[in-house]
Every structure is written in C-alpha cells, then in structure tokens.
Symmetry: C2
Subunit: 558 residues, 2 copies
C-alpha cells in the first residue's frame, strides 16, 4: 500500500470553520478576526480580558541533535496535542510560523507530518496572515528612516560607518547579502555598505515573539540599537522616532493566529525567530494566551535541546515568567543509529549495537534537561522500519537514565498512536513535580553565562574568546546590559561547534567568533562558527516546479 | 461649527459585517473570504461562476488636471456610488488600493473624504488584505531567481550587463534607488548595478490589474522581459521558470477585495498600478466582477483625464473589452480659479473672471472625452467657499460645450448631496447613447499611436524623439509588439510636459525621453520627462508622529 503524502493527507482534512475551533477555547466569534474560513487572529481585546485567568500546564517538546534521518519534533508536538485532546484533556498547541523565502529553494515544510499535521498547510507556507510581511515592512521602515535622518542633516550625529541596522526580505537572495546603497548622486543619499538578512533574522521578529503586549512591543522596538555615534554612544530606534510607526505596522501581527490540527484541535501558529541568532520559539503572547484558554499547552523550540530547549528555558521562560511542567524529548531509532555511526543509506538494516552507542546523545540531553528542574519523558517517534529489538534498546537505555520512553505512532495513526505518552505527560504535568529554574542567574557576568552554558550543556572544557570579545561584553555590562541572558548561535548538529561530531563528545572548545547586542529583544547573541542570515537558492530551486495545476491546487511546493 | 476630520467621520461609521455587503451583491458567505469582519476577498470560484451573466453599466469618474486646490475625484466616485444606491439603483464602486510606503512620508490618504468615504480607512492605508505584499514577494522572487540562474552557470546566457528586472519594496527609500549587489565574494554572486522601485511601479502590479484570470496572469508573467542576451534577444520570466511560482504567490491577491462605503454600499478596492509608467486603474477582475453583480459600476482612473481617462479607454477598456456608458468629469470652482491664474492663497476671494478663464482646461477635457464616443457629465464638487456666481459660470460654460454640470455636495451630505448627478448619470447610462471606441487602432505604428495621443489629447504640435527612440519602437514592431497600446508617462499637472502650464495650452512639443516595453502587461511605456519610481521620505516624515494612542487607535497616519 502506497503511503499518502503529507499534502495529500492535509488536503483530505475535514476542516471545521475556525469559529468552531475558537469556541472550543471559549473565544467568542466577534473576537476572532478571520483570514478566510480556516485561519483567524485572536483579538487584542480578548487577550486583555483573560489576563487574570489561571494558567494551564506548559509542555515543551524538544529533540536530540537533528540528523538527516529526521526526528519529527513538530509532528510529535502536533500528535501530543491531539493525543491530550483524545484522552479528554483540553489542550492547545503552539508552534512557529514558516518563513516564505526558503520554500522557493527547498520544498516547503509541512506543519507536522502524516496524520499529525496542522492545516491549512499551503497558506502556512505562503503568506499566511501576513505577519512576516508586517515585520519586513516595520524593519525596512526603520532602515529607510535612518538613511533619511542622515540625508536631511543627521541631527543625531550618527557615524555613517557605524550604522548596524540592515534591511530584510523574506526571500533567499544571496545577491542582497552585501550591497552598496545610495549610489547615483546627491538625491539618493550617502553611499554606504549595507546588506539584507532574511526576515526571520530580524530583531523585530525576536521582539514580536518576546513582547508581552503592544506597549512592551513599542518599548522594545525603541530600545533597539541602530547605529553608533563617533563617541561610540548608541543611537536607538527611539532616537529616529520609528518606534511608534513600527508598532502601528505590527499591531495586527501581534495578535496570535489560530488554526487547527487534522483532528480539529486548536493550534496557535505565531512568530518564527531564527533559532541561532535568536531564541527560536513561537511568540510569548501566543503561549501565554493559550495557557489561559487551555489546561495543557504543547509547544516546541527550534533545533535540538542543547540550543532550543536551553533558549526556551533561559530566554523565553525566564523573560515571560513561564514554568514548564514537563519536557518531551523526541528521538528516533534511526537517529540513534546515525549517532551510533551508521550512514544514512544503511539505516534500513537492524543494528542494535549502533542504537545502543548512539543513545549517548539522547542520554546527554536527558541529563541536561533535568538540570532545569523539569521532568523529562522520551517520545520514540516510530518509523516503519524500526525493529522491536532496536526500540527495546532505546527504552532500556532511557529507563537506565531514570526516565521513561514511549513508542509513538501518531504519524501513522494520529492521536490514537500517542495516547500512552499523552496520558503520562498529563500525569506528570498534574503532579506538580516540576521545579523549574533557569540555568544561570541574571546577575552572573555575560562571560560566565556563556561559560556556564558551554560547560554544563555542551560539556566543553573551555571557551575561546579574543580580548576584543571579552572587552565588548564588559562594555555592555558597564552600559547596563549585564543582566541580559545570552543567545547562543551554534551548529544544531552537535554539542560541539563541529557539525560532524555526533554522539556525546567531551573535551572540546567553544570558539566565540563575535558577539552582538539585541538590546530590544533583550539578549546578547554569541556567535560560535559561521551563521548565515541570508540564504541563497540552490541550483534547481523548488520555485521552478511550483505552479497551480488545472484544479487550482498548488503543485511543487511540498 | 468645527468640521469633523475624515478619520473622525470614518471612525464613527456604522459598518455592517462584510457578509451583509456581499449579500447585497448576491455573493454567498462561503464565497467571501473574510479578512477581519469588515474586509473580504471574493472567491475565484464564485467569480468563475458569474462569467455568463450580463454586465452592468460602467461609469468612469475622471477629472481636470489636478491642482493644489484639490478636485475630489475619489470622493466623487464614492459619492456617486452612494448616490446611485440612494436613488434605488444597484450600484458598486471600484477603486485602487493605496500604497503602504508613501503613508510614512506624507499623511495617508483617505479613500474619499467627508461623508463620501470607503472604510476601514486605517486598514486600507496599512497592510489591507496583503495584496501589495504578495506582489512584492512575487517580484522579488523573480529577481532572486535571475541572479541565482546566473550564479549557477547562466544556461540562458544572460548578458549580466543587461538585466532589466529590478527589485521592489513598498517603502519610500531613496537609498535603494541605485545599488550594487552581490558584493562580498564568490558565494554572493557577480557584482552588478541594480536598484529598487516602489511596489506599485512593478510590472507585476500592472499585470495583476490587467489579467482576466489566473491563467492569463501566469501567461503574462511569463511574457515579462527580464534581461537580454549578448545578441540582444530577450530573456523572459518564463525562461527563468519563475512564472508558476509567482502565480502561486499571487493567487489570493488576484481575488478582488470587498469593503463598504460609510452608507454601507459595496466597494471593490483592488490593485493599484502607477498612473505614469503604468495605466493607473483598479484591476480588470474587480471591474468585470462588479459589472456582473451590480447594474451600475462607478470607477475612476489616476490623474487627470488626459492621462487617466485616456489610459482607461485605450489600455484597460480596449484590453478587457469594456465599454464605458458615461464619463463623469470632476471639477471644482477652486481648481478653475487656479487654472485661471489665481494663487492658492487667494482662492477664498470670489473671482468669476478667473473661473471663466480657467474653464478652458475643463472644456479641453470635455472635448477630448467626447472623442472616445462616451457622453460626458461634469460634477462640480462643491466647496463651502464657492459663490453662486462662480458656480453659475462653470455651469454656463459647460452648457456652452454641449454638456451638463451638476453641483455635488456629497462631501458634506453624503448621497443626499449628489442625487441629481446620480439620476442623470443613470439616465445617460441607460440611454445607450455611448458608442465607445478607443482613440487609435491596434494596427497603427507605435510612433503614430504616440503622435495621435500627443496631437489629439495633449494638442501638441510635435513629438520630439531621438533616432534611438524611433529605432527602438521599430525594433519592437519587428519583434511583434507593434499591436500594443502605448502608456504615456507625463506630468499630470498640465496637458504639456511642463507641470506649470495650466489651462489649455497649444503649440507645444512632447519630448520623449525613453521608451520601455512592458511585454507582460502588454503596453509600451513612453516616458516624457522625469519619472520617479522610488520616492524618498521628507525631512519630517509622517512616520515620526504615527503611533497607537492609549485607546489603541492609530494617530498621525491621517
């Protein structure tokens, strides 16, 4: 029997009108701002009205270091949300929005997979409700206002060589990475080196995802550093008077988007910051709203647990006052094999020894997650080729680590395939066992914060940082930014900064290439290795095959 | 008594749910794709289903050459739509969407004014339903794919010096007018001169507004010329394989937007091409859909009648097979005075002689419009300071031209103030008097088409064009583009190419600076004078004062 593809399954979805999904959460239809019949934004007024309600339990889904075998973190997030609803709980899902640009390079990503998906999939991979376009506009308005400020006399005395605010576009366009602007004479301004990042890399995106409300959004936008003067004092977006207009451009985008799973359960899909130079989680406003409308909220964080979960805990939860009640760590037998040294082409052959050896990566993540004081359960995302002996090996290993592993078949079976995990997660969340604390305190020095993450999460022996980097960190501390958390930008494929080192390496060094201050988002970005903030298109971009077929359906996007 | 501002009036609007507005036109709610509660797109399926219905009467509202005194063309379009409904007719309005970027320079434009407005005004000046963002994405995807094509080996053998496809952004950003891209080394491509236009200047915008349906859209997108080879043969968007993906990005944007007037009458607001390098009318799909749902459709064209109405007739109507039944030419006493030589500061003083002398401009437009075979009625858009003698002068003049003029007080009174005009317009439209024909035939040479417009509409004595321009036109004719209409890009302030020459000048020359081929949109652009396709921000951009107030309302945008 041929399997249906994700898009085939998604197209067969029996979607309910979005008002019905909102009703499940107690959102009156006048407070749902529809975008078509299957998407809606939750009104700011309604969000304001539920601020005093008790919060539900927050469940984080994270994963081992990703391998080409795939782990299915989003699929498990969706499946677990459906599973909790299937066992009679009132649960909602919170995930990130997809970026438009990359879909024209490689095929677009489903939100989940198999029978654990969020729909409408096409819209979510295209313009959706326009949030990213609003972010692009707000970001580029600030860019235009900075250059315009300089053009008309530069009252703020900006050092034109030290404008740090670039432009953005939601497109994979390598030609825009590095450009010279304002050519062509006096009327076009002062020629300057400049460049574009992809929209998800914008600090505006990170801010939208961390802001509590529109007031907080405006304050944070004003706090962004856009340039420096000759005396190196920062020029803020507020000095350019852009914060108000940017907030106006973002007022609709700040309202979380509600969609549904294939099983008609509510899913908030809102915000999508990079998981390297930003924190990689859906918006705080979506998560906190969901927590006031549902008893359980299942969410996820970008990349593996070393990056995603750490930032979720140390940035998002710390800043938003959130306390996760349970962590679900997703692993697959195939990924364990790859961590155990098996090549991708050999994954079809049973290899219990490789699974056993690869479990070291899983074990390290379990241990790390426990340091945050939150109970950890492992979800083994089942693939058809997994053998009983291999699965038993993973389960045995997890038990030996003092945790529990559940085989989950949500991809093939929907909620019915993940009920045992859902039941256990609900029990743990209800038990109140979690005693969350971030990894480090606010008052630790910036360098010590980096050092703590490197030693305790990555298990590195040392940090390599130039004097320049150390001086920069101290300068920011002197300017009052010392209490910020750090946001690590490192390869997601390894605990180390070398993407080829799988498993659970020790004894390595973490070289810091550069540090950047996201003063509005409220974190210091620590760049370890090469980070690409504007992707390019491949030799044969998927866009070449994307088109509408005779039935008006989109072909080639998935 | 202090007058209420447009935004105050708009905020007091008693808006109906958009489904009720759709119902008036017979659009079932499942075929209205809502964007919030007061905006919706009409589904493509519904549009397909009404193609065999008879069409209503099309009424064009155009104006004299604009002066700083203001004519109120959109206000009259909206007022006339309301007026027709008030006298018991089933009428709809079709106007263009506003561009986002310019609102952050100068204050945003209302859609109409006073008691003749379309709402929601804030949304229409911000992201609205995302159409312009979709156009920006589609345009820039093509840009990225061209550079990517060159990067990966340039199979099409594009002459990298002859890439004519720029990028766009819906922002006033002079720094982007002229840039050098792909700096920074091999991985970023080949350095090249490049630049950005504002989104409304994109050929994609013009195409979206002229395409009959999604198939026609895709064909036209494929027909766009993006570059030339060393042998000067054109490279089309189709050669880059971008047409399919661009169509997918535009599929929602192609669906017309439905909103409402203050009097709850239906208004389609869709598309917004430049009125200089493009044809400056709302989309064909909105107009033809409205014509199948309403008995009367009131629409407008950009700038004065010499540019806007001429393009409406010779480009939009010719290409879409539309036949206007009546033209309403908007004039004001104040504008007549300015055309008669009065300075803006002196407009408050009665001056019948200046009105009389200024009527020459009005008379020229009446005469011109009649050459298209369509009956012309003049709407005198009433201002509080107009005196009876001044108004009588305009009416007398219009009568002497064999036409009729109606004093219209829709700005102050809504539909009640424009019923006489509405009644007469309906009579004329119903009379079948119109016998529309475009100004020139398809088979006239491109140069002769330009010459015809210059002599018969602008009343110029001659065209000034370099051999290079004449050769270029002949080359396009040889390539099969000779049957296209021409799209004149000229100042809107005068019949001549000199913006300071008001009234009805004769004996002037029309110098052609440049010609461009919009092969997808299907016209040859003839540039007479300086045309700015990327505006800049002023010294004190309105953005500096735009913000959300405590009540969550937008301040400073209007």
């Amino acid at each position: 029997m041929a399997h249906k593809t994700d898009i085939e399954i998604a197209r067969e979805a029996d979607k309910r009108p979005i008002q019905q999904i909102g009703e499940r959460l107690g959102i009156p239809s006048e407070h749902l701002l529809p975008y078509g019949h299957d998407k809606a934004k939750v009104s700011q007024d309604f969000i304001d009205s539920v601020q005093d309600r008790p919060q539900g339990k927050l469940i984080l889904v994270t994963a081992i270091n990703p391998t080409p075998a795939g782990e299915g973190k989003t699929t498990t997030t969706v499946g677990l949300g459906d599973g909790l609803n299937a066992i009679g709980k009132n649960a909602a899902i919170c995930i990130r929005e997809a970026s438009l640009g990359p879909n024209f390079g490689m095929k677009g990503g489903a939100a989940g997979g198999g029978y654990a998906q969020i729909v409408p999939m096409e819209d979510m991979n295209l313009h959706f409700t326009g949030d990213f376009h609003a972010i692009t506009s707000a970001h580029n308005l600030l860019s235009a206002m900075i250059d315009n400020h300089i053009y008309w006399g530069n009252e703020q005395e900006i050092d034109v060589r030290r404008v740090v605010w670039r432009r953005v576009m939601d497109m994979n366009d390598r030609a825009l990475r590095q450009v010279v602007t304002s050519l062509g004479g006096v009327a076009n301004g002062f020629p300057a080196e400049n460049g574009f990042d992809i929209t998800v890399a914008s600090e505006v995106m990170a801010i939208l995802c961390l802001a509590k409300d529109l007031k907080d959004l405006e304050r944070r936008l004003g706090d962004m550093i856009v340039a420096y003067r000759r005396d190196k004092s920062p020029v803020f977006a507020r000095d350019i008077k852009a914060d108000g207009a940017m907030t106006v451009l973002l007022k609709d985008a700040m309202q979380p988007n509600l969609v549904q799973t294939l099983e008609n359960n509510p899913a908030f899909v809102h915000g999508g910051p990079f998981a390297n130079i930003a924190h990689g989680c859906n918006s705080v406003i979506a998560t906190t709203t969901a927590l006031r409308l549902a008893d359980y909220v299942v969410t996820e964080a970008g990349f593996g647990a070393d990056l995603g979960a750490e930032k979720f805990m140390d940035i998002k939860c710390r800043k938003a006052g959130l306390s996760p009640a349970c962590v679900v760590l997703v692993a697959t037998v195939r990924a364990m094999k790859m961590n155990g040294g098996v090549a991708k082409d050999d994954l079809g052959t049973e290899n219990v020894a490789a699974v056993k050896s690869g479990c070291a990566n899983l074990g390290r993540h379990i241990e790390n997650l426990k340091t945050f004081g939150v109970p950890v359960v492992v979800a083994i995302n089942h693939f058809a080729g997994d053998t009983d002996a291999e699965i038993a090996q993973v389960q045995e290993f997890v038990t030996s680590q003092g945790s529990e592993a559940f085989v989950c078949k949500h991809w093939a079976q929907g909620s019915a395939g993940i009920e045992p995990l859902a039941t256990r997660v609900a029990e743990i969340a209800d038990s109140g066992r979690a005693n969350f604390a971030p990894l480090y305190g606010d008052d630790m020095s910036l360098f010590d914060k980096i050092d703590t993450i490197a030693r305790r999460i990555y298990r590195a022996d040392e940090i390599l940082a130039d004097q320049k980097v150390r001086d920069q960190l101290r300068e920011w501390e002197a300017q009052g930014y010392g209490n910020l958390p750090v946001c690590m930008a490192k390869t997601q494929y390894s605990f180390t900064t070398d993407p080829s080192r799988r498993g659970a390496p020790t004894g390595h060094s973490v070289p810091i290439r550069e540090v950047r201050l996201s003063a509005g988002a409220g974190f210091v970005v620590v760049i370890c290795g090469e980070i690409m903030t504007m992707p390019g298109l491949p030799r044969r971009p998927s866009a070449e095959a994307i088109r509408l077929n005779e039935a008006g359906q989109i072909e080639g996007l998935f």
